[in-house]
Symmetry: C2
Subunit: 205 residues, 2 copies
Amino acid sequence: MSLSAELWPDVQPDAARRLMLAAVESFARRGYHATTTRDIAGAAGMSPAALYVHFPSKAALLFTISRSGHEQTLGLVQNVVATSAEPAEVIRRVVEDFVAWHARRHLVARVVQYELAALPEREYEIVADLRRLIENTVREVITEGVRAGVFQVRDPRMAARAVLSLGVDVARWYTSRNRTTPDELGREYGELALRMLGAAVPPVE
Amino acid sequence: MSLSAELWPDVQPDAARRLMLAAVESFARRGYHATTTRDIAGAAGMSPAALYVHFPSKAALLFTISRSGHEQTLGLVQNVVATSAEPAEVIRRVVEDFVAWHARRHLVARVVQYELAALPEREYEIVADLRRLIENTVREVITEGVRAGVFQVRDPRMAARAVLSLGVDVARWYTSRNRTTPDELGREYGELALRMLGAAVPPVE
């Protein structure tokens, strides 16, 4: 399977995915505003006219990348919530998956997390709704854990933000030359997040 | 005192500081690569020629902003380390100051943290040395805390990165419309960081 098919299995045809991958690489390297549709088409080995067959504008490309990234991370959070009712177990697995996603797809994640301000207003609102869903889901799990006495947290909203922040920031510093694999990093951060929430974590041997 | 004098008290004359502030605003809004020296000079109410009196290039402006930001954050870390020998107390105050700095100066901090890749190679190395000093200082405090039995941490390097990550990511999401003040956020995060390191923190009442 190609990298772009792995990143965006739901996007068809392959040419659209190749344009998205070229856009991610260009945006991550030079920033959204300094990248032209001509740059993106060229990096994907296409003509500018071929790009417009798949995306009406550079903003449409950014929106597709951003929405897909948010849907994917929301999906993994909801997936964990659906399969466990134990707040500590849910937080551990959410952080594991969320962190590993941001490490494994760090270039995509950088565009997803750092180019929000470049989205047009309507598209921004759609993405902001997905972000709120992610934050609210995590906050509800934390609130439930506080109620059940497994977490010690004063402000679940701030705690949810801090837990997600840990994962988001991985996209900034992680590179493929890192010695820690995405899964290892996820496991370590899962434990750090649980401790942060005041959960009883077995002491380090 | 003007905002630019508050941000860069060591930079003289005022015109240089005004150019730095205009650069921060332009870089934060459109990214480094999409900003021209003409944009920056215009935003500071100067001619491009007047800019070159103070900075030989756009890269020199970015470097001055980046180095200053790293020196300031290194300074606050070293300042705490110099005034306390108790690892838990040091981490709490380092996180309080580091987080409050990133919230209060979130636009400057965004440029400092997210435009590293745009620095020319030699300038990048100088900034990378400052980053290593910050990380190493925090890691040593954590290692000392583990030795003293006040922290429970398997990998002090990863823990140091996670602690700083929490602070850095504040620059991404914090805005002046936030209900939590930089100091309040610092205090909350100081406690979250201590818990993350397995320190005994009094339970939430």
